[in-house]
Symmetry: C2
Subunit: 332 residues, 2 copies
């Protein structure tokens, strides 16, 4: 039995044919061009799906279901995308719109939920009953597994870890609230923190020290925006500004993780998204910082690991979500 | 069938005989005298239990099980109290210690969990699948119901809502972390905020205005510590300092509630503990403030209500917890 998974991103629409074990059989992608009307994006999602099926020498009847992961808030029951800021969508009946073009059952959910499902089936969460995925990208996505299943909440809005408040009167977030976790621990937050810190240091008293030390470290030039990858690489090499900013970043990230432990008490927490490519350097620093702030320091608490599936987590998980949904229905 | 419930508090040990429907048949209490050695407190818990049973004309054999609610972190499986700051207990094998004196099965859990179970059976959470109880007392306790059951987490430490971080570099908490929710939204926090604010105002430029306005409002004299009840009563009557402090307090409380919504997305949230006696005045202010900071303003989200069971929630819930435990075992 084959399933179709679509990972709808702000940049690309990625799709794959996935088997029951979570292996990708064939995949493809097309640009999202997110400023277009929703109908055009949806037409491309349908065309990409049909092309993948045809290229594999199959017909729509060979596909058990389509799952779609959306970077926003979705009601899986009604199939409505309530809010998807990256695509400027609001209250869009996506499931129904896709279903008019496709004969297979369509199921939609949040993209972080898809990634967590993929980790549960074939990644870091295998054989776990409770787990939290934190994706550290331009924002912070989150998904929670409880009792071996996705915890989607009473209104489909659970696990919005990026919008947990970590500063009562903090920075303004795109969601309209102040002090959200993603303003302090996303890749964008790291970049902002570095820019702010670097420009302060350029004019500060320790500028000369910094210039001197720069010659024998991998200092990165100021005056332009640096990627999170560059900042972490510089921190790894001991560049003072990058090191200071990275420590501050990890402090914020660790405090958020401690909150997640104090609330969900999961077996395992996985870090995914762009920042997680920093690998062991990130992981060791985070584990050490988390251990300092734990409520119960002498008791076992969540293991902290890196997510094991990269960009493919979204499409695999979307397909697995569709599989889970149609099997639930069959059981009833 | 009858069950025994004990609510162990820092001040009193409360116990009750409770029937299957959650009704109290007979109750009694005795001072905890928490500075005593644990063995003496436990002896009194046993004596109180046996006295209640005897007073009702029953024997131990008539009681199906004893449930005990502890104001701390408990492993329900091992029966060990990991940490109970109010009684100075650490890694105490309470279940085994009680079991040596009593023939009925003993089950222990967190006191907020008991209160939530009681609300689920006979209070504000009746017929709900997902709910969060926030008890606003000297600290902040919390308990989470998911899928109609207590969510206790992988290590028995879930739902520690009071130790969710709301300020990255905030006030030092008793747990060793900084910026915990209970430092900003407990009854003690309200009292601290009022003391700090009142003493500032005494020496500030608006002191004269305040003194003038005091004559026709229920201003409360400065220079002594005021209870949360007094501060809320003064705010209700429009006293300027109390009003300003209460607004600040509700802002912090509301931000924490928004985090809980963004993480758990429950059907309902109930406010319990001493602060909740402020009733509708608190509830209306909190609801209004929460609505300002919601992630999805146009979508349905958790209903916010007052807990309906007062001080009895703990003993009823402890008994119901024991009932749940022995029925689980019978089903296996």
């Amino acid at each position: 039995v084959l399933f179709l998974g679509i990972d709808l991103g702000a940049t690309n629409i990625a799709a794959a044919l996935v088997d029951e074990s979570g292996s990708i059989i064939r995949s493809s992608s097309t640009p999202t061009l997110s400023v277009r009307p929703a109908t055009q994006v949806i037409d491309d999602m349908v065309a990409l799906s049909l092309r993948l099926i045809g290229d594999e020498g199959l017909t729509e009847q060979d596909i058990a279901a389509l799952g779609v992961g959306i970077p926003g808030i979705v009601s899986s029951e009604t199939g409505v995308v309530h809010l998807c800021p990256n695509l400027f969508w609001q209250q869009l009946p996506l499931k129904d719109m896709l279903q008019t073009h496709l004969s297979m059952p369509v199921h939609i959910t949040n993209d972080a939920n898809c990634a967590a499902l993929a980790e549960l089936q074939v990644g870091a969460f295998r054989s776990r009953q409770s787990a939290v995925l934190i994706t550290l990208g331009s924002g912070i996505g989150g998904a929670v597994i409880l009792g071996g299943k996705l915890h989607s909440g009473a209104h489909g809005a659970a696990g919005e870890i990026g919008h947990m408040v970590v500063e009562l009167c903090g920075e303004l977030c795109a969601c309209g609230n102040r002090g959200c976790f993603e303003r302090y621990a996303s890749a964008d937050a790291l970049m902002r923190m570095y820019s702010a810190d670097a420009s302060t240091r350029m004019y500060s008293a320790d500028a000369s020290t910094r210039m001197n030390s720069a010659s024998n470290t991998t200092d990165i030039p100021t005056g332009k925006t640096h990627t999170a990858k560059e900042i972490i690489a510089a921190a790894k090499n001991g560049e003072p500004t990058a090191t200071a900013v990275f420590e501050k970043y990890v402090y914020s990230l660790a405090k958020g993780i401690v909150s997640i432990i104090n609330l969900y008490d999961p077996e395992i927490i996985a870090l995914g998204g762009g920042i997680s490519h920093a690998g062991d350097f990130l992981l060791q620093t985070v584990r050490k910082e988390v251990s300092k702030h734990l409520f119960l320091k002498d008791c076992p608490s969540a293991e902290i690991v890196l997510a094991t599936l990269g960009n493919e987590a979204g499409i695999i998980g979307a397909a697995l979500y569709a599989m889970q949904k149609i099997r639930q229905i069959k059981c009833l």
